[in-house]
Subunit: 213 residues, 2 copies
Amino acid sequence: MKIGVLGTGVVGETLGTKLATLGHDVMLGARSKTNEKAAVWAAAHNSTAGDFADAAAHGEVIFNCTKGDGSLAALKQAGAANLGSKVLVDVANPLVFSDGQLSLSIVNTDSLAETIQRTFPSSKVVKALNTMNALVMVDPARVPGDHAVLICGNDAGAKATVSKLLESFGWRDIIDLGDLTAARGMEMILPVWLKLMRTLGNAEFNFAIARKR
Amino acid sequence: MKIGVLGTGVVGETLGTKLATLGHDVMLGARSKTNEKAAVWAAAHNSTAGDFADAAAHGEVIFNCTKGDGSLAALKQAGAANLGSKVLVDVANPLVFSDGQLSLSIVNTDSLAETIQRTFPSSKVVKALNTMNALVMVDPARVPGDHAVLICGNDAGAKATVSKLLESFGWRDIIDLGDLTAARGMEMILPVWLKLMRTLGNAEFNFAIARKR
């Protein structure tokens, strides 16, 4: 599948690498066409690199792996025409760090994912993978047990496409929380994630939903 | 131990019943001294009932099981003198339901628990048990697996007291997230809890923190 990955940070490169390893035709998108980091990554992973617009045009499915506070600008640079009516997987979180505390710039009665959906109404936004470390996203077996990846979105077909990709990463407990309003809760889980990371001393953990099955 | 439980809803009665069953001397506190529900509960559980001030005066440890939007009023009625420098376990969440969505009235850069701590600076506030159904709070074995109860607070001794009580309920994975600022994240987990309840169709689940141990 042709996949555009927007963002050259740890999340974008980790997801891009996994998708390329699985045989997908990945283009990594950066702010500029001549981003050296993206070019180096592409050369090493039998993939291509371009700017946000190139990567959005390339992908049948697009992953937003930009930082939450820059996601709207990055997606505007990608362009509504290139985003089209494609599946847009929003992995980002609208994080604000201040005085050692984590808060969210969009929260409670709205979410980054809903903001993106409103801004690009033709896109099929699916929130997923935002509640864990990048290494765990693409290799859930790093963490023992039946831990979960949460997803939500307004389009059932888009969620089915994303679920298949998640299964190919090794995810077994994929929990569909319904429409995109569930992204509020998925993003609001980040402050407790950070406290857990500080308490446990590492990021090699994940939320599991214990229940009778 | 003498324990005051503030609030006669499902959470207060369920916690009160468990604590009485474990042999504690429980007083259930209501808004009024003549709350019939509290009196009936007390008669059935070899316990006593009173108003918020009576229950706060009675307890060496006090559980705030009032609804989040009424917690400050209830605690003011309980009175700073009766709350003293006792352990105050805050189980409440500042929930707002609107248009089928759950949001929080205090959120992101503050929490109900911190608000209570600022209002009653001598109290030793510990946030705990706010992230699960009442039946699961007092009987974690209802849900399979190594699921977790999160706690936080500014006083180590108070957290040790609460942890002992939680162990007596059957909790094995008690995760101390640090000082009371962690209550933000603990309260912000409620929106995803509600979406999970709707997805799973019941409240017999809990968050687990999957990790190497």
